[in-house]
């Protein structure tokens, strides 16, 4: 099969993201990232697509860390609460 040499587009990126997280979440994340970077949709240049990609990667890492923190806090404080039953 011949390699795909076409430039990536915003539509490609959104389609790929939507397959993973759903259309609504994908669109929301994309809009927020674009806005945070001071860009406008559609994002057309390769350089700007790369900026959006890197922003989403960093945000994803931090969201994962924050999610783990919240999970620990929720479990431990629930266990300590009178209704929690533990310890």
């Amino acid at each position: 099969m011949a390699p795909n040499t076409e430039r990536p587009t915003e539509a490609d990126a959104l389609r790929a993201l939507a397959e993973l997280v759903g259309t609504q979440t994908a669109t929301g994340m994309w809009d927020l990232s674009v806005r945070t970077l001071g860009l406008h949709r559609p994002v057309e240049s390769i350089a700007d697509l790369r900026r959006v990609a890197e922003h989403m990667m960093v945000t994803g890492d931090l969201v994962r860390v924050a999610g783990r923190s919240l999970k620990v806090r929720a479990i431990t404080y629930d266990a300590l609460s009178p209704a929690g039953g533990q310890p």
Binding site: V65, R68, S69, T76, Y77, L80
Partner: protein, 175 residues
């Protein structure tokens, strides 16, 4: 009872540090058996019932390896809120720390790990990544007020380097 929204802003949410944590995957819930011998060795060297490798996230500490019976409710969470973390001061001061009696120390005497689980003495050193960020701590905890052997800090600093080497090596191997 401290509610979630009342928690003190004790952690400095340094983005670069947390990105280093994420890069190493230290926030992920996964077994790290390659660290077990280090905490076992530490517990033996300092004669303590508990030895831990903890990572400091933004709002919690998570345990990567533990020697000793971690209470079920803490094991279920895989960590504790960061304001309970005896290693939390490493975020602002990287010097090794020792607390002879947590129950009489104003900073720790109301900590649930002290009041509920009976932790009484602590010794710890920071875990510093090769990028220069504090990832967490390597520590030992005992259930009685005590001193620790004079050579403990040197031993722990050597083990802390080994911990970081192993963690960063795991990233390199893609495990």
């Amino acid at each position: 009872m401290m509610l979630l929204e009342e928690r003190p802003r004790v952690a400095i949410p340094t983005v670069d540090r947390l990105l280093d944590v994420a890069h190493l995957g230290l926030d992920r819930e996964q077994p790290r058996t390659y660290l077990q011998e280090i905490v076992d060795q530490l517990a033996d060297r300092v004669g303590a019932p508990f030895a831990l490798i903890d990572v400091l996230l933004d709002g919690a500490q998570v345990f990567l390896a533990a020697h000793g019976p971690v209470p079920a409710w803490i094991a279920q969470a895989g960590g504790t809120p960061i304001e309970w973390a005896f290693c939390r001061p490493f975020l602002t001061d990287r010097r090794p720390r020792f607390v002879r009696d947590l129950a009489t120390d104003p900073m720790w005497r109301d900590n649930p790990l002290v009041t509920v689980e009976g932790a009484r003495s602590y010794i710890g050193v920071p875990l510093i990544s090769h990028r220069g960020h504090v990832m967490g701590g390597l520590c030992a905890v005992d259930l009685a007020p005590r001193d620790f052997p004079a050579e403990s800090i040197a031993t722990m600093e050597r083990l802390a380097v080994e911990v970081i080497d192993r963690l960063e090596s795991e990233v390199g191997t893609g495990s």
